[in-house]
Symmetry: C2
Subunit: 139 residues, 2 copies
């Protein structure tokens, strides 16, 4: 049975369940950022998914990229480059980050992972960002 | 026409041309590390590839993961976690990193990108590592 690691609930907000993955918005106003967690019990590496699920994950990453771009526009900071990563050094449950980057963001040109502390959106700022992400995801 | 960015030639060594990607070994003895560059002119983001090429990229990432594990074994440091990332903040040509991580590696648990300076293998150390990678890639 798939159980979401509590680490995701502490750092991100539920958006929707896609065909394969749960899609969540990272609660960090510094970067437009979605996290995709395949709803596959026990998966830690890409190789733990069957090939057709891997292809689905790739397509959901592209969809998440469109949502990240929409979030960037809603924030008035259009995305210049997408960063996609599956690391899992701290939270081994398989998950994929899709992050929108700009040359003026606080971690550029380094990676966002491990770069400073998250800045939560707060309720008022979160609403339009979630709306933009949901609209791009078609939900 | 596909032209490899010179940045890859400066930091990595040619392994083979897979179905979609050129596979290269990152010349950094600190981490078992392959880089996959789709041979697609002008591609910067995953969305720039057609869906069937995206699925091929995913399968080549899994194959590269097996090669990274083989390199880790050849180095006497078996891989504990794979890190896969497409960033491109410094080198925008679309490419995917597949890196083998261990809790005792010099960047753990942070990402490898931007973490310290690469340590080139040198000719003698490179040979068995390339052989292990080639064997795992079936070339």
């Amino acid at each position: 049975m798939f159980i979401l690691d509590a680490a995701f609930e502490a750092t991100s907000v539920f958006l929707t369940d896609l065909s394969l993955c749960q899609a969540r918005l990272q609660d960090d106003a510094r970067f437009p950022w979605l996290v995709l967690i395949p709803r596959t019990a026990g998966a830690r590496e890409l190789e733990d998914l069957p090939a057709d699920d891997r292809a689905r994950l790739m397509e959901e990453a592209v969809l998440a990229g469109a949502a990240v771009r929409a979030v960037g526009r809603a924030l008035g900071r259009p995305v210049q480059k997408l960063n996609v990563g599956a690391l899992g050094n701290l939270t081994p449950q398989l998950h994929l980050h899709v992050v929108g980057r700009r040359a003026d963001d606080p971690a550029w040109p380094g990676p966002v992972w491990g770069a400073g502390a998250a800045e939560a959106y707060g309720e008022a700022a979160l609403a339009p960002v979630m709306a933009a992400a949901r609209d791009a995801l078609g939900i």
